[in-house]
Symmetry: C2
Subunit: 376 residues, 2 copies
């Protein structure tokens, strides 16, 4: 938690739950990432947190933007981004959305199938397109599955076809999965894509850009390697495969820019036991899986929790959300321990919740309104 | 799909995705349930679909309401329900919400812990309270886990204590899990609770109500036993355990009243393959797990899908939502087959989506707005 957030929480009596976000921390994270990877163009993954103060600050800093939908593109433009700063990175786009993006001046699009390529050729003529390659996701806490990415052989054929369709097949991309903790995953993916890259150049394709995706991890309960480790691994792998002929490089960071800039303040609704002799207390918060903490599904993302009683004796807990849904449990397997003194009415803090929280919140499940947001 | 919905869909060019809901079908479902269980008081589980037209129709029909939050209570009152018709059925309630409900005249509250009982005694003095018992959830497609319910020994002690605290310990409740397909689960739960019921009467507690919960299943892809089977099993079990001394009986149906009254109309965004020789096509819809279809988590609820090409040749598919989230996959393990002719732009229908869809929708994940709703 940043000093600015601490002062704000101390001074305000905020309705709970809410997200409090320090935009200065976001700026520091952005500057640090640019320092670590000076040769790489940063496209902020808007989906991680699309709030206007986030997009505006990043636009001021010269960030570019990776958008998942036309709605996100519109928000980027409203925040001061130029169309040339925006990549439409979702490989699944409605025809109407492609047309709207093209009309707005966006000229860079992702694809990973013949069918999407055809839609792009028809609705975004002449645009720069890059093909997303299927790579392994081992080591990611939130893996991306086979939903996205073309296999190498298909990708090669599609990149050749893109030129025939009047598009500019400018690059390749991959994504190693979100909250990726292994530098080796980037190295392996770069090696895999580099071969295709060389092959395409030999085939006469003017491929010149490599989009390394996102996935850079942040420290939640468990600490992760610093960004510099990933930067070094990436640049070493790029140099090993491309030598002095480095292509234009892009990354799409989301989580690592915004996660630790945000804190969710939540109220304990109930602390109870299922039976007298059960050592595990159930702690129910006023935010759960359907109030924004969707990434606790399968306990994938394990947030740090601060309470007013920290330092006192602790005991094992299961932690759940406030709804009548039996699936609305945050942590039951992960061995969380919270203070014995914790009671209903206490305010607790879920740290590192600046990414992938506000937008996931259901509009009104069980009647609860979406998470309130405060940007400082 | 009902004729009214079919006519509406044929006549309108609706933005996609959207829910179309036939309130007359809801009424027919309510009347059928009341016919099947004439001795049982129906408390509609508002969380299944809290839309005003749903609450208003049910209020007109004399339904009572099971609310999960004060916001839901407020909506019931606005729809014409009287405070005496409302049960505050969530065992996890903020103190402020208990106070607001009590001030609004609500006098019936669930609990399953000593801590919640204390909150009720302090903030809803003299109220009728019922204790939720932990029962097995085998046979439920959407089980409720250990998040809710007190073990029998604890429940007995809490019911005795409720009287000491000035509350009216009027009843017991259980929940066999949602989309429960086995009548035996109700029989077992009734047997379990009946023993405690008798025990409490002998101990001098004026316990007189049994809340049998909800969970009644509907036919999605797989058909389920008709409601009459559950009604017969329940009444037989009640008679076996209570003879002529039947307590007041409540049920909290949600899904079985609203599910088949609703249809989600969705657009196919993309149909693609990961490689040329892959027999499985990926079908991407403009609605997914974060756009409302949250109950497809772990492929628990398997909706029927109708397409414009039904009747033609079919082939295996994986089905996913429109977001960049790798977890936004509806069906990958369940062997769905869809027409070979299916292409981007086709309108498809997800049937039986009148329950647990609209409220789960994220407020703006990936920039997509929540599901639009039309009530006919």
């Amino acid at each position: 938690m940043t000093p600015k957030i601490a002062r704000f929480l101390a001074g305000e009596s905020l309705p709970s739950p809410c997200l409090v976000f320090d935009v200065d921390r976001l700026e520091a994270n952005f500057r640090n990432l640019r320092r670590a990877l000076p040769l790489v163009q940063i496209y902020y993954a808007v989906k991680a947190n699309p709030a206007a103060p986030v997009l505006e600050r990043l636009s001021t800093l010269g960030s570019r933007f990776d958008a998942a939908s036309f709605e996100e593109i519109r928000n980027c433009l409203a925040a001061g981004a130029k169309p040339a700063d925006i990549s439409y990175g979702n490989t699944i786009k409605k025809t109407a959305a492609i047309r709207a993006a093209y009309a707005a001046g966006v000229r860079l699009y992702a694809f990973d199938s013949a069918e999407e390529l055809k839609k792009l050729a028809e609705n975004a003529p002449g645009a720069q397109v890059y093909c997303r390659i299927l790579v392994a996701n081992e080591g990611a806490d939130w893996p991306l599955s086979r939903k996205f990415g073309a296999e190498i052989g298909l990708a090669r054929e599609l990149m050749l076809r893109a030129g025939d369709l009047g598009l500019d097949p400018c690059g390749l991309s991959f994504h190693v999965g979100s909250q990726q903790t292994r530098t080796a995953s980037y190295e392996a993916a770069i090696g895999r894509v580099a071969m295709l890259f060389t092959d395409l150049i030999e085939a006469g394709v003017n491929v010149r850009m490599l989009n390394l995706g996102g996935g850079f991890p942040v420290s939640y309960r468990e600490s992760v390697p610093p960004i510099d480790n990933f930067a070094t691994a990436i640049m070493d792998a790029m140099t090993a495969h491309f030598g002095n002929q480095l292509p234009e490089m892009l990354i799409e960071p989301g989580r690592c820019l915004v996660a630790d800039a945000g804190v969710v303040a939540s109220e304990v609704v109930l602390v109870s036991r299922r039976s007298y002799n059960d050592p595990v207390r159930w702690v129910y918060l006023d935010i759960g899986r359907f109030g924004g903490l969707a990434e606790t599904e399968n306990e994938a993302i394990r947030y740090r929790i601060a309470t007013p009683h920290d330092g006192g004796p602790i005991g094992p807990v299961a932690i759940a959300g406030p709804t009548c849904d039996g699936a609305d449990i945050l942590y039951q397997q992960t061995p969380y321990q919270l203070p014995i003194a914790l009671v209903a009415g206490d305010r607790i803090l879920l740290e590192g919740t600046g990414a992938y929280v506000t937008t996931y919140a259901s509009q009104c499940f069980n009647g609860f309104p979406p998470l309130a947001e405060h940007y400082l």
